[in-house]
Every structure is written in structure tokens, then in C-alpha cells.
């Protein structure tokens, strides 16, 4: 399968100071790259940089051979990212938020697709609630639904397991694996060794020095053994 994401000597950080070592990696279609590391290692910063949410200090990130440009329409069409940004339109319902994404990505039968996602994420009963009326976990489900309802070449997820109950964690893991099986590439930042073992193809351990390991060793890094 062709390479979707190429990261070469990527340095990430704030105000010119790198937060971790240089990152180099590639993810092919159908692969899941796990990113692990201790708190503050720079995992989310790496993910945000790959998603174009912040500028790299140095190095290149290419998606399908093109340098990332978060303002370019093709980039936005190819890259889906879910971070822990709890920002919602205060007067739009859960359903309307998903409908916005479905319509914005020109999905066919957007209403049906939205209903399917609502059912999958257990939000059908809360479809007409505004985000403020949701629990923290339900808001997380809504963000994940927004990331998964749309088509993308690469899906970037920052700790998707956070705030989810165990049953939903397993279900989300299966959805991510399904996305990869259908030819999508995935970058998964996680602290969950089981999720990593279940779906990751390779694993990057972020720290002062960045190492590439197999998921079994990555899971043991998370567990601290």
C-alpha cells in the first residue's frame, strides 16, 4: 500500500524550544501508528503538528506526498483530527453538529449517516441536546463521531480513550481498526496499552530521544515495565 504520511526529522515545540527529540516516521494506507510516552513528553504536540494545528520548528511532514498546509482545501479533505478541544457551538444540538460536518464534507445521505453515528456512539437519545447539557464523556463521543463520520486519508487521534467507558473504548478501537482496514492511515496517541496492542501496526516512543518499537514493547513502555 502507498505511503500516506511521511515525517522527516520533525522538530516540534513552543517559542522555538523543542519539547522532544526529532521524529521521523511513515504510515502507509491501512497502518496504525501508535504514539506513546510519559506525560509532557510531547506526544500531543507531535500529533498537533502533524495535523497542521501548529507549525513545526524544523523538518517536513507530507500527506500523500504534499507538504502539510492546514489552510489548503485538499489537506483539510484528507486529514481528520480529534483532539481534546471542548469547543462547541453553544446553541447547536448534537445532531446539528454532526450534520454540519456531514454536509461540509458533501456526504451522501447526511441525515442517515448522522443517525448511524449517533446510534454507534450511544447519542441517539441525546441527539437534540446542546453540548452543555452533555456529560464530559458524551462530549468526547461527539468529538469522536465528528472525526469518524467524515472520509479521510489519515485520521489523527489524541488519546481517544479519554473519558470513555470501557465498552465504548472497545467499540472505538474497533472503529479505528475498521478505518484502517478500509485503507485509511491512523496516527493514535494513547496511554491505553490494550488499545495499542489491539490496533497499532508500529509504535513511536516519544521522549528526548524518539524510538520506533513494535506495539508489544510500546505497550510495556506505557505500563512502565
Amino acid at each position: 500500500m502507498g505511503t500516506v504520511l511521511e515525517v522527516e526529522n520533525l522538530s516540534v515545540g513552543y517559542a522555538g524550544d523543542p519539547v522532544c527529540g526529532e521524529v521521523s516516521a511513515s504510515v502507509a494506507a491501512g497502518e496504525v501508528l501508535g504514539i506513546v510516552g510519559v506525560n509532557g513528553a510531547g506526544k500531543s504536540t507531535v500529533a498537533r503538528t502533524i495535523a497542521g494545528r501548529q507549525s513545526p520548528l524544523a523538518g517536513d511532514v507530507k500527506v500523500n506526498g504534499l507538504l502539510i498546509d492546514p489552510d489548503a482545501v485538499p489537506f483539510r479533505r484528507q486529514v481528520a483530527a480529534v483532539f481534546d478541544d471542548d469547543l462547541f457551538f453553544p446553541s447547536l444540538t448534537v445532531r446539528e453538529h454532526l450534520l454540519l460536518i456531514a454536509r461540509g464534507h458533501s456526504l451522501e445521505n447526511p441525515e442517515t449517516r448522522v443517525d448511524e453515528e449517533l446510534e454507534f456512539f450511544g447519542l441517539l437519545g441525546r441527539a437534540h441536546a446542546i453540548p452543555d447539557a452533555l456529560s464530559s464523556g458524551q462530549r468526547r463521543r461527539l468529538l469522536l463521531a465528528a472525526g469518524l463520520i467524515r472520509p479521510s486519508s489519515i485520521l489523527i487521534l489524541d488519546e481517544p480513550e479519554q473519558r470513555l467507558d470501557p465498552r465504548m473504548r472497545v467499540a472505538v478501537g474497533a472503529r479505528i481498526a475498521e478505518h484502517a482496514d478500509q485503507g485509511g492511515a491512523v496516527v493514535l496517541v494513547t496511554h491505553d496499552p490494550q488499545l495499542l496492542l489491539a490496533i497499532a501496526s508500529t509504535c513511536l516512543v516519544i521522549g528526548d530521544e524518539v524510538r520506533e518499537l513494535d506495539p508489544e514493547h510500546g505497550a510495556s513502555v506505557i505500563s512502565g515495565s
Binding site: 517559542a15 501548529q54 507549525s55 492546514p70 489552510d71 482545501v73 485538499p74 483539510r76 479533505r77 481528520a80 483530527a81 478541544d85 469547543l87 462547541f88 457551538f89 453553544p90 446553541s91 447547536l92 444540538t93 446539528e96 453538529h97 450534520l99 454540519l100 460536518i101 454536509r103 461540509g104 464534507h105 458533501s106 446542546i130 465528528a146
Partner: protein, 509 residues
């Protein structure tokens, strides 16, 4: 083909914006009755009407006062070694205000998106123009309308000989100039002109508009300025969707923070909001000074506070502008009434002092850090006061030197001014560490409606002692010399304010 695709993207984008707005509107309507909406409209109408009436009566009173004044009578200045013709002064003032409008527009971002829009709209693979253009046009129209209304009032005070139509023409020129200032800020966001080229072009256009506003009250300058404004907006319009997402988010974040702070009537938060944004902290400044071994924990803290003050780039332009503006008002031909001159000095002093407490304003958000230091909170507060007090003492001292050279008072005024500056610096710290009023407490009933408890007290905290610190100085200026009683009062006032600020223990909500 690509044009067609882009057109489709624009249509879809406009549909997304409409869908969001329609849903939001439907939700709001479902939550409010017709009666609620009537009460809202009534309250707004009444509020605006009362404000306009108060403003109009103030403007008319000031106009009569200025029109009826005798030349130089009542002025605190006795030796005008430089006389500024009134039109020159008003032109400069208009220019400065337009620069401030442009600067504020740059901070708030004429092209911006708010938090939810940044999360839900920006990642969509669509043309962003329909997302950012309508708010840009609304903001521009708002800037124009507000500027026209404000300038009518200004024109009535400064150009009493003009008829209503001429006032309106000048105000329309000024409104068009404000639009140019806002649109030039959008030019900057789009990177259409180089950093310095943009600044020079913007300053030149605004300077020309300022002169045109004052010199001619005919419709032609207004028409010309409007044509330029519309022409510039026409350049921005088609390109509005090209502003980098990061810049759209930045502008929206600053505008959202500043807007919410204004709504909560929290001037401290407004300053915090406007102080954020693109400003880069100079992490290397005074590094050598910081590495020298300090004497004890207080020495270490003072050193840290001095370095933090220098690194947070205390803005130099506003203090210089307020200084120049106050001196210019003293030198105006014919002389303004004494009380106006004193009021200008107080306003300039308060505005300058408020910008000096950046470090405290930032550290006040994390009081736990100060609590970790093995120092009495009063010593921490004194350390934090040091640089603002020194800076304000220098500013007030310099202003006093100019006032003495203008014959406003005896040389002893310089010492009184510097002492006042110390009190004002302490006042700025009091303002920066104030806490928000308790919104959960039941409001107090007033003739103007229910007001949150302690709201006014919180608003005035800091400003109160800053003005108090200037009272002896103002008395000395009013008298034209410095009686020893006034000098003594200044010493007591400033020392008292420093002590009060050092020993006060603001409650943390």
C-alpha cells in the same frame, strides 16, 4: 473546472454558515418568549437613549464652556514657549485616535473566527470566505457607525463655528478613515503588504484623512475617503478566505476574551486579553542580570520581577503617546479650561499606570506560586511594585519637568510628581491583583436595575488609589506653586498607598 469547484465550495460553505446561524437562531427563539424579546429591545433602547442623552448634554456643556472661555484664562500653563494652533492639535489627536483604531483592529483581527467556529468550520474542506467575510463586513460597518457618532460629538466641541451639515461631513470623513484603519489591519492579516510598507501606507492614508477631516467640512473629502475605503475593502473581500487559520483563531481568541471581559465589566481582563496575541516574550533580555547570585529569597524575587518586567516588553508607545498628548493639550492656542487640562493629566496618568502592571496581572492568575515562596506576602507585593513604581515615577517626573518649564508650578513640582508616580505604580498593582465580584451573591437593587454586589468596588479597585495619588499634584498645579503642606500630603498619600497595597490581602474566588 477548478473555478467551478471553488464556486461549489463557496456555495457549500455559505450553506454551512447559514445552517449554523439558522439553528442557533431557532434555538434562541425557542428559549425566549415574545415578551422577553420585547423587554430586551426596550432595555436596549432605553439604555442607548439614556447614554446618548447624557453624552449629548456633556458635549453641549463642554462646547459652551470652551466657546465662552477667555483666552488663556484658567489655564494651568503660564508660559507657552510653543503655541500649537488648534487645528494642528485636533488633527494630531484625530490621527492618534485613528492609529489606535487600527492597532485595536489588528489585535482583535477584523478577519477572525470564534472558538466553536475554529473547531467546526475551519477543518472543513471548503472555501473559508463565506465564513469570515460577513463578520468582517459587520465589524467594518460597526466601526464606521461608531466613529461617525463619536466624531459628531468631537466636532461639536472642537469646531463650534460649523453648521450641522458640516459636522456630519467631517464625521463621515472620519468614519471612512476608521474603515480604512480596519481594512488596513485586514491587509496585514492577509500579508498583502510588507510589515513596514503596510505601516507606512496605513499611516499615510490615516494622516491624510485626519487632515481632510479637520481642514474641510465639505462633502468631497468624505466622498474621497469613502471611495478609498471601499476600494481597499474590495481588495480584501475576494481574498478574505486566504487568511491563515492560525491568524483567524488568534484574532477570534483575543476578540472573544476582550468581548467577554467587557461584558463582565472587568477592565483587568480586557487588558489581559489585549496584552495577549502575537507579542513575543523576549526570553534572553536581562539574562546576565538574572544569573548573578542574589542575596536571600527577597533578592531573588526582586531580580525575577525586574527581569519579568523587562521581558514582558512593557509597551513604550502608549506612555509616549499619552505624554505627548497631554503636553500638546497644554500648548494649544487659546488654552483649554484649567479643569479640562487637569482632567486630561489624570486620564493620561491612569491610562499609563494601567499598562505597567503586566507582571502582576499575569502572576495574579496563579497566586499559588507566590504562596510557595518563603516570604511574607507583603514583601512579595513590594517586589512586584518595584518596577511599576520606578517607571511611573520616571514618567510623572518627566511630565513635571515639562510642566515646570511651562510655568505651571515651581521646581518642587518635579519631586511631587515623582512621588505621585510611586503611588500610581502601587495603584496599578492594586488594580492588577483585584478579584472579580462574586456573581453568585444576590445583586443590589439600584435605580438603574439590579447590579452585581461589589461590581463597582471591583471596577474602581486600583483606579481609586491611582487617582488619590494624583490629588496633591493636581492641587499644586491648580495653585501654581507647591506649598509644603501639599508636598507633605503627597509624601503621606504615596507612602500610604504603597503600604495599603503591600498589606492588602485580596480574597481569591
Amino acid at each position: 473546472m477548478s473555478t467551478d469547484v471553488s464556486r461549489q465550495g463557496r456555495i457549500l460553505s455559505a450553506e454551512i454558515v447559514r445552517f449554523t446561524r439558522r439553528s442557533a437562531r431557532r434555538y434562541r427563539r425557542s428559549r425566549s418568549s415574545l415578551g422577553d424579546r420585547f423587554v430586551d429591545a426596550y432595555s436596549w433602547g432605553l439604555g442607548i437613549g439614556v447614554s446618548l442623552t447624557i453624552a449629548a448634554s456633556f458635549v453641549l456643556a463642554l462646547r459652551n464652556e470652551i466657546a465662552g472661555r477667555a483666552s488663556t484664562s484658567g489655564s494651568i500653563v503660564r508660559e507657552q514657549w510653543l503655541v500649537l494652533p488648534e487645528p494642528v492639535l485636533w488633527t494630531c489627536l484625530t490621527f492618534v485616535v485613528l492609529l489606535a483604531v487600527g492597532n485595536l483592529a489588528g489585535k482583535l483581527g477584523p478577519l477572525a473566527v470564534n472558538g466553536p467556529e475554529s473547531s467546526w468550520w475551519l477543518p472543513l474542506p471548503l472555501d473559508r470566505r463565506p465564513m469570515v467575510l460577513p463578520p468582517f463586513l459587520r465589524k467594518t460597518a460597526l466601526a464606521a457607525a461608531g466613529s461617525v457618532i463619536a466624531y459628531v460629538a468631537f466636532s461639536m466641541v472642537t469646531a463650534a463655528d460649523r453648521n450641522p451639515l458640516e459636522h456630519l461631513c467631517s464625521a463621515l470623513t472620519f468614519g471612512a478613515a476608521a474603515v480604512i484603519a480596519v481594512v488596513m489591519a485586514a491587509f496585514k492579516q492577509l500579508g498583502l503588504l510588507g510589515r513596514w510598507t503596510g505601516r507606512i501606507v496605513s499611516a499615510a492614508l490615516l494622516a491624510a484623512c485626519s487632515a481632510a477631516t479637520l481642514i474641510s467640512a465639505s462633502p468631497w473629502p468624505a466622498a474621497l475617503a469613502a471611495v478609498v475605503a471601499v476600494g481597499l475593502a474590495a481588495v480584501v473581500g475576494p481574498r478574505a478566505g486566504r487568511v491563515a487559520g492560525e491568524e483567524l483563531v488568534r484574532g477570534g481568541a483575543v476578540a472573544g476574551h476582550a468581548g467577554a471581559s467587557l461584558f463582565m465589566m472587568d477592565s483587568n481582563e480586557v487588558l489581559r486579553a489585549l496584552g495577549a496575541g502575537r507579542k513575543k516574550v523576549d526570553g534572553g533580555r536581562a539574562a546576565r542580570f538574572y544569573t548573578r547570585p542574589p542575596r536571600g529569597p527577597l533578592g531573588a524575587l526582586i531580580r525575577a520581577d525586574v527581569v519579568a518586567f523587562l521581558r514582558l516588553n512593557p509597551p513604550l508607545v502608549p506612555p509616549v503617546m499619552w505624554f505627548a498628548g497631554s503636553v500638546a493639550l497644554l500648548l494649544v492656542e487659546g488654552g483649554l479650561p484649567g479643569f479640562v487640562q487637569l482632567a486630561v493629566l489624570v486620564i493620561a496618568g491612569c491610562a499609563t499606570a494601567s499598562g505597567m502592571a503586566t507582571v502582576s496581572r499575569k502572576t495574579a492568575m496563579l497566586p499559588e506560586i507566590d504562596a510557595l515562596l518563603p516570604l511574607h506576602p507583603a514583601l512579595v507585593r513590594i517586589s512586584r511594585m518595584l518596577m511599576p513604581c520606578l517607571a511611573m515615577a520616571a514618567w510623572m517626573g518627566l511630565l513635571s519637568v515639562v510642566l515646570v518649564s511651562l510655568g505651571a508650578s515651581t521646581p518642587a513640582l518635579i519631586a511631587v510628581g515623582a512621588m505621585a508616580g510611586i503611588g500610581m505604580g502601587a495603584g496599578s498593582i492594586r488594580a492588577a491583583i483585584r478579584t472579580q465580584p462574586d456573581w453568585s451573591a444576590p445583586p443590589v437593587e439600584t435605580p438603574f436595575g439590579p447590579v452585581p454586589r461589589a461590581q463597582l468596588g471591583s471596577l474602581l479597585r486600583g483606579l481609586d488609589v491611582t487617582i488619590l495619588a494624583m490629588i496633591p499634584l493636581m492641587v499644586a498645579l491648580y495653585l501654581g506653586y507647591v506649598p509644603s503642606l501639599v508636598a507633605g500630603a503627597q509624601l503621606v498619600f504615596s507612602a500610604g498607598i504603597v503600604l495599603v497595597v503591600a498589606l492588602s490581602r485580596p480574597k481569591h474566588s
